[in-house]
């Protein structure tokens, strides 16, 4: 049923896209069919892989370089209340500052190659994951910790058995929120200055007045983001299998 509904929505979206293309003119909005053909050609020529792999490398590297400390640092700072309080305004400022504005700086430092995009992505991902993870740590149920201390659990066991499992869903949420941002930020970096990547290919297509090329790039990005999200979702479902889904709760209530 759900699959059917999803296909129905896809058909509706494609129909709307096609209608828009007819209304505004195919020179502005390429029809879905022409886009699909261009997509297929780009795929066969190896262009999509050439550019896509570059964007994906920038996104994944930046995601790891920003995401790992973003998820880890809140755990380190958890019990250092003073340090955390001192750093807080700077972290908030870092989170709020538009990182895209740093792009020229990263290009001066790291050149127009992969490194500047990785740095840009890392700077975005770090703050996102950091704040969501911090919120997760703040939400740990203090009563669980008090109960565990009463029956003799030490700080290490509490960290492993209570703090980490409570915060883990937040860490995953942070990573899932950050994943599309990682791709998007890599593309923005490429749009500004690059000689490879999906952002570059979109920019190049725009310069050539080739809307089909732009649509191909956008569709490719949407597919990459969807794939990445699905992969993180699978990982999360595996690691957080204890969380009740609606079915088990229903079953349990029926049983008692």
């Amino acid at each position: 049923m759900r699959t059917f509904d999803r296909i129905a929505v896809l058909v509706a979206l494609l129909a709307a896209w096609h209608a828009a293309s007819l209304y505004f003119g195919a020179q502005w909005i390429t029809t879905p069919w022409v886009t699909a053909q261009a997509f297929w050609r780009a795929l066969m020529r190896g262009d999509l892989w050439h550019h896509g792999s570059y964007t994906l490398s920038a996104a994944v590297l930046g995601f790891l370089i920003g995401g790992i400390p973003g998820a880890g640092l809140p755990f380190v700072l958890r019990r250092m209340h003073t340090l955390r309080a001192v750093l807080d305004p700077y972290l908030v400022a870092g989170y709020g500052a538009p990182k895209v504005a740093l792009t020229p700086l990263f290009i001066i430092w790291f050149g127009i190659g992969l490194a500047s995009k990785v740095a840009l992505v890392a700077s975005v991902v770090f703050f996102l994951v950091f704040f969501v993870t911090s919120a997760g740590l703040a939400s740990v149920d203090q009563k669980l910790i008090a109960a565990a201390r009463v029956f003799g659990a030490d700080a290490r066991l509490i960290a492993r058995e209570i703090v980490w499992p409570s915060a883990a869903p937040y860490v995953f949420t942070g990573l899932r929120i950050a994943a599309p941002y990682a791709i998007g930020t890599a593309v923005v970096g490429e749009l500004i200055s690059s000689n490879r990547g999906l952002g570059y290919s979109i920019q190049a297509a725009a310069t050539d007045f080739d809307p089909a090329g732009i649509f191909v790039g956008v569709v490719a990005l949407a597919l990459v983001v969807t794939g990445l999200n699905a992969a993180l979702g699978l990982l999360e479902a595996r690691l957080l299998s204890w969380r009740p889904d609606d079915k088990t709760v229903e079953r349990a209530q029926a049983a008692f």
């Binding site: 008090a146 565990a148 009463v150 029956f151 003799g152 058995e161 009740p244 709760v249 008692f256």
Partner: protein, 268 residues
């Protein structure tokens, strides 16, 4: 009322808890003032008081989750807590168990792992311990549910599990803070019977806090009555209903109604 039949096991003397004044709240707030009580070994003491009378605060201090503003707590004659003593030792080296209002089971652990958690934390999880716990699990009617997550169990079963978790590591003193408060009347009665059955097997020293007078009489050897805040003990009543008690027909037991009424009057 012969309170000193045995040497006191757990003694509380002059306990007080005050919260400092804050902006917008003129004077400091005194929740407990000059509260003293003593419990002998193996005794089941229930404490009733109006809601907001600092019952949970009292147990939190006995469990050493919270520090008193004044007074001291002694266990077997040894001072384990005073206002000036060192850092708090929650549970006093696993000597004092605490069953709270919420079951505080770890949602990401199965029932069995939850119940064995204290023993694992204390490094005492061996075959003999597992067997003892398995017997307790059966006594509590939880057999067959070991592999379930807490979210898959009813409120009553989670309560039993939290009770068994504390009984499993055998602390000499167990504090209970309205553990059956959130349950329906039927389940509550069942759990009263279960608790008394388990207590009969191994007579722990229990301090059980509640606002329910009938519950206090049904379970306790002795009922302490607390005043409104600042709380202190204003009355104590020995419960002469013989054990083992028949929870289902307790209201018919001689003396129940009179005792209920006396405590009710003291609480008003």
């Amino acid at each position: 009322m012969d309170m000193k039949a045995h040497a006191p096991f757990l003694e509380v003397e002059g306990l007080a808890k005050r919260f400092a004044a804050k902006a917008g709240r003129g004077e400091s707030l005194s929740v407990i003032e000059d509260l003293s009580l003593s419990v002998s070994e193996g005794e089941f003491v229930t404490v009733v008081g109006p809601s907001g009378s600092g019952k949970s605060t009292l147990l939190n201090m006995l469990a050493q989750i919270d520090r008193p503003s004044a007074g001291s707590v002694r266990l077997r004659g040894e001072t384990i807590l005073g206002p000036q003593s060192g850092p708090l030792v929650p549970g006093w080296n696993c000597q004092i168990g605490y069953v709270t209002q919420e079951d505080n089971l770890l949602p990401w652990r199965r029932l069995e792992e939850n119940i064995l958690f204290p023993l694992r934390a204390q490094g005492r999880l061996d075959e003999a311990a597992r067997e003892r716990v398995a017997a307790l699990v059966e006594l509590a009617g939880l057999k067959g549910f070991e592999r379930f997550y807490p979210s898959e169990l009813s409120g009553g079963m989670r309560k039993r599990a939290s009770l068994v978790r504390t009984l499993s590591y055998d602390p000499p003193v167990i504090l209970m803070d309205e553990p059956f408060g959130a349950l329906d009347a039927q389940t509550r009665m069942q759990l009263h019977a279960d608790l008394l059955r388990m207590w009969n097997v191994k007579r722990k020293t229990i301090v059980f806090v509640t606002h329910d007078i009938a519950e206090a009489i049904a379970l306790g050897d002795r009922v302490l009555v607390l005043s409104r805040a600042p709380a202190k003990v204003i009355a104590e009543h020995r419960v002469d209903i013989p054990r083992p008690r028949d929870i289902d027909h307790l209201v018919l037991a001689p003396g129940f109604a009179a005792l209920f009424d006396r405590i009710r009057q003291a609480l008003i």
